[in-house]
Amino acid sequence: MKDVYQQLVSIVGPAYASNHPEERFFYSRDGGTMEPREPDFVVMPKTTDEVQQIMKLANEREIPVVPMGGGLVLSGLSRPLKGGIVLDMKRMNRILEVNETSRYVVVEAGASQGMLQAYLKKHHPKLKHSVPDAPPIATIAGNVLIHGSGHLSAMGGFHTDMLNGLEVVLPTGEMVRIGSCSTSPYWFSRFPLPDLSGLFLGWAGTTGVATKIAIKLYPNRPFNDVIIFVTEDPEIVPDVIHRLSGVAVAEDILAWMTPKPVWAHGFQMLNVNYGADSRRELTLKRDLLRESVSKYIDEKVGGFMPLPPDMKKRFLEAPASTLAVFADVNKGGGFEYVGGIMPIELFPEAYRKGLEVASKHAVTYSLGARIIGLGHCMMFFYAYAFNRADEADVKRAQQALEDTNGMVLEMGGIPWKAEAPAQKQIINKMHPPTYELMNRIRAVLDPKGIMNPGNWEVS
């Protein structure tokens, strides 16, 4: 393996390839509950060409490759289950192009959410992208590739729906472009061509390495507000979401249910964020949103929290800083969640069962749901905080997550960015020909099975 290391050094330089125990330790784990798995090498390429050279080497030598963005997925997807190379993309972090008129940006795959947010604020203040509730170091590409969602998802859907194009290095080392950029100098859309992006989205890095990505940008409006609908009847929440999202003015709709602080316990809160170009427009949008749920206000079973502007500030943040507080509530910095993608009518059941799981395992929990599109579905999250230094606490969280994955599937939802064991649970429930097709596609793209092996596999 020493010659592999030397070859990696010759591709990226000695500062950016390592087989040292420190790096191997660091890259063996993420912030979640999955057991560490050490890589043999860690490599940080700077260019697409270097990625191609690495992939050719790995393919020739049949060495597993695990692409990694911010390493913040929490479900262990960037752990090298079968050793090999972790391909850390963070050096490929340039923002290549912003098209103000057609509202898109092209970035390298290691560009982070925080970088793009800061860049747009400085150079294109009238534009913004959909920011996930993740630390700013999370990468844009990583979040799109796992079907993430964020602060504009009520308007634009999954982050995958906001994808305009990709540059990908295949497991065999060829580079391909997906979307309009394959045919035009513009990265304006994935259409009207055959949409090949699906070969790389949601595959947990098992089909290729994204090196560039274009995503849609949206107006960054000067006036912004949030209204928070409160009820204590989960049964009405699907209809409330249906009504609020149906108005089609919200940028983001986020439900949250948490036992702490005490005033939140037992209630379902729905944050509805929206923006406007004038105060008048903002008021109009607020009135439309309120009117949509007037039935419940008139019945006195729900209403909007009376929050002065000063108290709204933290609900207007993107990403929300309160999540970082929850993530360390048990101290020890452990935090993982199941994001169940499911139809909104499952909200009451998802909520009740979430409470049951949390109670059964005595875990510190926070529940919530980000609404995707105009109420087309939701990412219902079951977040569990744990103390990483407390083995019993980690175990409790692990079991709660496992139960939650099972419960989500049983209800008719699908766990998002599922851990390898949860991927197996999904495969077991999947229409068998679908899984067969996945394997056939994978075999074509990755004949030697080097891409993130151990994921989307039965054994």
């Binding site: 602080p261 209403g303 909007f304 009376p306």
Partner: protein, 343 residues
């Protein structure tokens, strides 16, 4: 226990029905006002119970101090007219509840009661408050806000406990027998609301403005007149204690600011509208706020002066957008004394 001291005969004999006729939020003629008043006295439903904006003003308008507003709130609760949606009320009750974190603390006079607003303790500084102790937190919250939520029951349950806490955790062992209320709400709760419900208050209560007036006279040689026009945002709770209003004028005179006549000031003041939003009456809240801020702007006010922290939080942004500076009364006094607000 803690029955409202209300005399129905006084209202029945009242010919002017000022409580309703002068209401800024209910449009009603004298004949109907008398009918609605009778319904309220008899414990029957009335449009007043549904349309009341809970601005407290009828407590001020009543020439007999017969507590028409407390009775309206009493009836709203008894008849479950629910001015605010149920989950919002329940959530607020939890949010503002005592957390049981109070610990005994030695204090020395002057003791400034900051109520539920410990974040404003930084305002207690400089020459005005030399040697002052502050007390604050959920365990000494005056709980007057439940008048907005048709929840006199919460006041009955919590206010006596808060009074006990102030006495037993702070005053008794410190040999202090009076507190200065930073906020109109506390002063109104201890001097007017508590007696109306027969709740005993064993300590003396001083209004912040009485204290400031006294201190400004003592510091008169240090005052540099501010020489600006101000608008005063009179809070709803001041309707319970209109006798304190003269101190506002006295303070303004002492520090050299002008409070021009405005349409929506003094007895015609408009509330900040936060609680009207709790009632989900957004259009009314917008209308009130706009009328109020327009009125302030019309007199070219440089400062919008607040007593109530909630009014400040609610109106700050709007006031700033219109080019005025929102400021608490004590901070404005400190400017007049040449003190920096930022240390």
């Amino acid at each position: 226990m803690y029955e409202l001291r209300y005399d129905p005969q006084i209202c029945e004999e009242c010919e002017t029905v000022d409580c309703l006729m002068r209401c800024q939020y209910i449009n009603i003629d004298l004949e109907e006002a008398k009918k609605e008043r009778q319904k309220i006295i008899a414990g029957q439903d009335s449009r007043v119970l549904h349309e009341c904006a809970t601005c407290y003003a009828c407590e001020e308008y009543c020439p007999y101090d017969n507590h028409p507003f407390y009775l309206i709130v009493e009836r709203q609760e008894q008849l479950e007219t629910r001015p605010v949606p149920i989950p919002i009320v329940k959530q607020q009750i939890k949010m503002m509840g005592p957390r049981g974190q109070i610990v005994p603390q030695k204090v020395s006079a002057p003791v400034i009661n900051m109520c539920f607003f410990p974040m404003l303790t930084g305002s207690i500084r400089g020459k005005l408050f030399e040697g002052a102790s502050t007390i604050a937190g959920s365990d000494i919250f005056c709980n007057i806000m439940w008048l907005h939520f048709a929840k006199n029951s919460v006041i009955r349950e919590r206010l006596p406990k808060m009074i006990d806490n102030i006495t037993n955790y702070y005053l008794k062992d410190s040999g202090v027998d009076e507190v200065i209320c930073f906020h109109d709400e506390c002063y109104g709760a201890y001097t007017k609301l508590a007696p109306a419900f027969g709740i005993e208050v064993p300590f003396k209560t001083i209004h912040l403005y009485e204290y400031l007036t006294k201190r400004l006279w003592e510091l008169k040689d240090h005052i540099k007149p501010v020489n600006e026009v101000v608008a005063y945002q009179r809070p709803c709770s001041n309707r319970l204690i209109p006798e304190t209003q003269h101190w506002v004028d006295e303070i303004f005179e002492l520090i050299g600011v002008v409070r021009p006549d405005r349409e929506y000031d003094r007895e015609n003041a408009l509330c900040c509208a936060t609680l009207i939003r709790a009632m989900q009456r957004e259009e009314l809240a917008d209308e009130i706020q706009n009328k109020n801020i327009d009125d302030m702007q019309a007199v070219d006010a440089k400062y919008c002066v607040f007593n109530c922290p909630m009014c400040l939080m609610t109106l700050r942004e709007m006031v700033e957008e219109r080019g005025m500076t929102p400021i608490m009364m004590s901070d404005l006094c400190q400017i007049a004394l040449g003190e920096s607000l930022w240390g």
